[in-house]
Symmetry: none
Subunit: 398 residues, 2 copies
């Protein structure tokens, strides 16, 4: 059954706050980051509402940002697949044309032997990165294909290959670790062999152009993807949706689903202001916060705890600005600082609203959510629960 069969198109507003990489785990030494964080505002919502744990894709499956978010928006991430390139393009407002292949790129630092020293070029500054991208744009030339470089933010860039006969079935050149050279791009299918060659020639050309750069002398590519249509969120749910996100990729995901992307916020304060300014314009409002994930990926436990506490401090303003009937707070996946990477661990969730009910959890965190009223369930089941709490789903059957 499709949710659209039951969606009434009326009801209260839903506010979904996604703390990227929220989930973690306790071990012999420590509680999870969320368990440790002082979060009086989230604790209050948890105490008054219902809690549980969400599994984004499946048991033991570590999700990327795309599937993690698609699941929270009610799309089965195994049915609807998205490459990071297509996400980044949408986030930057770059329209992929049919036939284009896009990839996510990291400006990075390589040593003399071509081994990756830093996957993020020393967290290169905005102006410096923009200068490097401009240099690539001016000087990189590859026969038979038009290679377009777009600066996203910091070390992150988007590369779009425009030409005839391209195929996105090419493996990542990003080794996802330091101490190794970039990988050779390989074609997963025969029809992608020319594209793999084009990517290899582009990589060589980039090395030549950036040879003298002190920090950003390398480029790592991942998530090759082409243009793809997704069924719109509005058609599936009857809700007008809006996104308030600092980072382009998350706006991109939202834009691919037909969300309106609001403003160009730089922090949680801006995000609350945008919510207030656009109050009532959308039925479903998605607020994205990145820092917890970035800190988790750095293996920086303290920074992840601090990022969660910053979101907690902003919660009253976000809620006051949106005036929602239902508030939900969760993550798109876990990023435990012990692993310094995304992981498969279930992600805590809280849902607060007059019709939702409350359980015995009086704090927000893995150990309290485990016995919550929402149970342990796939992330894609969150959206119908939010819609039910907002009075947006009709009864099924007589």
């Amino acid at each position: 059954m499709e949710l659209s069969e039951l969606a009434t198109g009326a009801g209260s507003t839903i506010l979904l706050v996604v703390i990227d990489g929220l989930g973690g785990f306790a071990d012999a030494d420590d509680a999870s980051e969320l368990e440790e964080a002082r979060t009086p505002n989230l604790d209050r919502l948890a105490a008054e509402g219902s809690t549980g744990l969400l599994e984004p894709v499946g048991a033991g499956i570590t999700p990327g940002s795309g599937p993690g978010h698609l699941a929270l928006f009610g799309y089965d991430p195994l049915e609807f697949r998205l490459g990071r390139g297509a996400l980044s393009a949408a986030g930057l407002g770059v329209t992929l044309e049919p036939g284009d292949v896009a990839a996510r790129g990291n400006l990075s630092t390589l040593d003399d032997r071509g081994v990756v020293l830093d996957r993020r070029a020393g967290r290169i500054g905005e102006a410096e990165a923009a200068r490097v991208v401009e240099k690539l744009r001016r000087e990189v030339r590859v026969d038979g294909v038009d290679v377009r470089f777009h600066h996203e933010r910091g070390h992150r860039i988007l590369v779009v290959f425009h030409g005839e006969g391209l195929d996105p079935a090419v493996s990542d050149t990003d080794p996802q670790t330091t101490g190794e050279p970039p990988r050779e791009p390989r074609a997963a299918t025969p029809s992608a062999s020319r594209t793999a060659e084009v990517v290899a020639r582009t990589m060589a050309e980039v090395r030549r152009v950036l040879a003298d750069e002190p920090a950003a002398n390398g480029l790592l590519l991942r998530g090759f993807d082409s243009h793809r249509e997704l069924p719109s969120f509005r058609d599936r749910t009857g809700m007008r949706a809006a996104a308030v996100a600092v980072y382009p990729m998350y706006r991109g995901i939202a834009r691919l689903l037909g969300f309106e992307v609001l403003g160009d916020p730089l922090d949680l304060g801006d995000q609350a202001e945008l919510l207030e300014k656009h109050r009532g314009d959308a039925d479903f409002v998605f607020v994205h916060h990145k820092d917890a994930d970035a800190a988790g990926e750095d293996g920086d436990r303290g920074a992840k705890v601090a990022a969660i506490e910053r979101v907690d401090a902003a919660i009253p303003d976000l809620v006051a600005a949106a005036e929602p009937g239902v508030v939900a707070v969760t993550g798109d996946h876990a990023t435990p600082s012990q692993l310094a990477a995304h992981s498969w661990h279930p992600v805590p969730v809280l849902v607060h609203g007059a019709k939702v009910g409350r359980d015995d959890a009086d704090r927000f965190g893995e150990r309290w959510c485990r016995t919550g009223a929402l149970g342990l369930r796939p992330s894609r089941e969150l959206l119908p629960i939010l819609m039910a709490g907002a009075g947006r789903l009709a009864k099924f059957g007589a």
Copy 2:
């Protein structure tokens, strides 16, 4: 895998007590109705047995009575769909012929402008309602179709349209609220357009015939449906099943699945007597109790608590009468009195039997069931658990 592949056709008797609308939720002010109710007998079964929570159809989905019960009998409610008309017909023992279209009807009160004042005609009495239905039967005439009126109980009636070329794809005329006029019946498919016209003419004719009635001067129709075959419970499970239900619709569901419907009980006392009289005749006995749902739908918290306590008081007699190997108590869906309607919230369940095992829950209610041994699972998974507990399922695989 079909359950029938493993069903042995032998084992102990299963008693399933369905407290209609049992589930609820705690909020800032109150515990759930079941948590509040004094239920020493249910608590003892919970303490000695296993508990959990059941989700009838899916996350966030509010079930009607049909899907709620089908799920408890092991039928996936998304695969097997039933209209209320067909359910009511089966409950009344009215055989729908192929081509007939049936709808559930409410005698109701309209004001001078045709706006619904009371969807239940002031909870009209039995004799009065029977008189009105007899009047409809005698006086309503619609060209080209034979309209048959059957009194169900109170304000509830069944209307069967018998004729050529009828199609049940017609929208409800019941607005499900007061303060609005009945809706125009609309055809969802072109093939139902004649049926929609027939229904509209019937509605006009009913208005004419009932114009002078003080309370029941209107009729609201919903759940248009036609004859449909369901695979029998016995074929699927190897069990002879019996139903002991006061309300016709629940007998109807049972009859559609091939249950034997026992007697014509008026209350829990009659139901216990019937169980005793027919002890050993069935392998699976379904006892249905309606009052908790009716009270929940009225938003009457106290009445729902009292209804649950009445079932609790009857539990020793029901168990003694049936002498089952396995007892289960649950609901077909939640009907929280805070919402005065069915809802999507998971429903507590307890299962008691020598092979079932016990968990730490020592009371019966949402908050204790949340950490029970059965977990949170789809309602359709209850039946195999009951069959296993009754020794009725063979090992799967060598």
